[in-house]
């Protein structure tokens, strides 16, 4: 194999830093595929979970428990006629979904799935993420305008006002977390996403618990603002269907509409990763400093495998509970195969964990480490993704004036106060 492929495997920096274009491209492709799969999974989970919240069954027909529903939906969206309204601005109408998609996926270049498991480590990582994801609103605004219709325009204006307002509180909350990174001997903080997690490791505390309750407050402000930023319930006024039919994407159909959905879910994952990186210790497993004996290391490295065993067990339970009618025969076989695949994957992960432990310097150890980092990061992000669904099922939509009032009169003063107090406490402590 060429040298540039193998040489990177032993290194402990991101491909961007190592200047290895091959692995940078590989990471980009892996992340792109992973996010797309996550969006498909999220689509299914959201429909199922919402249904169960409302005492319904949700999708049940396509595949066992509707598991194949997202694929059927995707097929439908691709075959659907793509209508461009006659009076619409053709070019802008065409380019709007792409803006949203492009910005949503660009931010993934700096998301740290591990200390070296990122495409690149930028010196301005967090600023880059916030800046680029704030460009995403351009796609929404431009889509609403290009449709040349009233509901989309109102949705677009609402969404731009909302995102500009909540960006302020969000930025201040982020700054107070960045301030905490400078609590070391040198007294200099960092904006790099990897650096922020490493600062938490050095100080031995997740920033959500730092200067209690300051870190928690900043985190809560960010967690609220990020829902408004991604236009999700209860702040989904840009697409309030009771008032605006579908808001900014009323005139969109087929594949173009699905690009909007893809961008929205990708942006949700991206902002959740910011929250995880800044306050929840990023890729770190629980108690990395306290329980750092090799035995604990080993026990925690078994988690990914056992998680997949759990999923496989749930799938097998589904097989066992399938009605005994011959109509369900194919579904049962399919689900059993799916469960077996999950179980096989779990076994593979366990084998890697054991192999990585026995041979300390080998590639298996490195691989095992990487799996651990990615596992804990993805687990934390998954919690946020579930919270997004939970919020949507629980809270009624805000009125627009209420939304603005919360943004400017509650969140902004609190985040400013938290920022100031954090700075003062930081100066006193150091």
């Amino acid at each position: 194999m060429p040298n540039f492929i193998m040489s990177y495997l032993g290194s402990r920096v991101t491909p961007g830093e190592a200047g290895n274009q091959f692995w940078a491209l590989m990471y980009v492709l892996i992340i792109f595929a992973g996010v797309s799969v996550a969006v498909i999974a999220m689509n299914w989970i959201e429909r199922k979970a919402l249904a169960h919240f409302q005492v319904r069954l949700g999708p049940m027909r396509v595949g066992p428990h509707g598991l194949l529903q997202p694929f059927a939906d995707a097929l439908k969206l691709m075959l659907k006629e793509d209508i461009i309204p006659a009076e619409a601005d053709q070019f802008v109408f065409w380019v709007a979904p792409l803006i949203g998609l492009l910005t949503a996926f660009t931010v993934y270049t700096v998301i740290p799935f591990g200390p070296s498991q990122a495409v690149s480590d930028m010196n301005i990582g967090i600023l880059f993420m916030l800046g680029v994801s704030s460009l995403g609103v351009l796609g929404i605004v431009v889509a609403g305008w290009a449709s040349n219709s009233h509901y989309p325009l109102i949705g677009a204006l609402r969404s731009s006002a909302q995102m500009v307002s909540y960006e302020v509180a969000m930025g201040l909350a982020v700054v107070s977390a960045i301030l905490m990174t400078s609590m070391n001997e040198k007294g200099t903080g960092t904006l790099s996403m990897i650096g922020i997690v490493q600062a938490q490791q050095q100080q031995g505390v997740w920033f959500i618990f730092k200067f209690f309750p300051l870190g928690l407050l900043a985190f809560v402000i960010f967690a609220i603002a990020m829902i408004a930023e991604t236009n999700r319930a209860p702040f989904d006024l840009a697409e309030a269907e009771s008032e605006l039919t579908a808001g900014y994407h009323t005139e969109y159909s087929g594949l173009r509409w699905s690009l909007f959905m893809l961008a929205e879910y990708a942006a949700m994952i991206a902002v959740s990763s910011i929250a995880v990186t800044l306050w929840l210790g990023g890729w770190m497993r629980p108690f990395p400093n306290l329980l750092k004996a090799p035995a604990w290391e080993f026990i925690f490295s078994l988690f990914p495998g056992f998680t997949f065993f759990g999923l496989a067990a749930i799938a097998f339970l589904g097989v066992a509970r399938m009605p005994a009618h011959s109509f369900f025969k194919i579904q049962r076989i399919g689900l059993a195969v799916f469960a077996a695949l999950l179980g096989f994957f779990a076994l593979l992960l366990l084998v890697i964990a054991v192999a990585g432990r026995s041979a300390d310097t080998s590639l298996a150890a490195r691989f095992n480490e990487g799996i651990d980092y990615v596992y804990w990061f993805v687990l934390k992000v998954a919690v946020f993704m579930y919270l997004f669904i939970w919020y949507r099922a629980t809270w009624p939509r805000y009125r627009f004036d209420q939304l603005m009032k919360i943004g400017w009169k509650v969140m902004l003063p609190i985040s400013l106060g938290v920022l100031m107090v954090t700075a003062i406490v930081g100066v006193i402590v150091s």
Binding site: N3, F4, S7, Y8, G10, S11, V13, E17, A18, G19, N20, Q21, D89, F91, V92, V95, M122, N123, I124, L127, F128, L130, G131, V132, S134, L135, V137, L138, V141, V142, G144, W145, L153, A156, L157, S160, A161, V164, G187, T188, L191, S192
Partner: protein, 187 residues
Amino acid sequence: MNPAMNSALNSGMAPVATPFFFYLLAGLAVASGLAVITRRNAVHSALALIVTLLAVTGLYLMLYAPFVAAVQIFVYAGGIMLLFLFVIMLVNIERSSKERQFNRMWPVGLAAACALLALFVSAFAKGKALFPDRMMSLPESSNTQQIATMLYGEAGKMGQYTFAFEIASLLLLVAILGAVIMTKKKI
């Protein structure tokens, strides 16, 4: 770590295909800049302006000024252009694009453009005297820190530009308050 990687690290992240990306970004900036002034539709102009700003952001990144690039995205592409679009959308573009422009500003514009060109030409001609003869070799990782030291100074000491920075922020505060007072009759 093998020798190939070592040398790549020691050379401090050798830039990749620099001339190609420079000409790509510069060409993009110029082309979209032309589009800004030639489009009749104001929204198209605004979108072209965003492309220009993003291309310039890329140029900043190539000059190892990541912080300036981030601020460019944040303030111009993200904030100001969004408000531009916000306002333009409320204007009736159908009518305004057909209307003849009633102001005659092109002589002034031409004079200003010529003056700017002269400035650039003179800067290019006297470049050696005006600028340091080689690029400052600041490590990329401390670029943001350098800016902070210039603006806020080291511990206990005023920075080079602290006063100017504070005055600028005061000016912005005055502008914000002015905007609020002018638009809101009752506060």
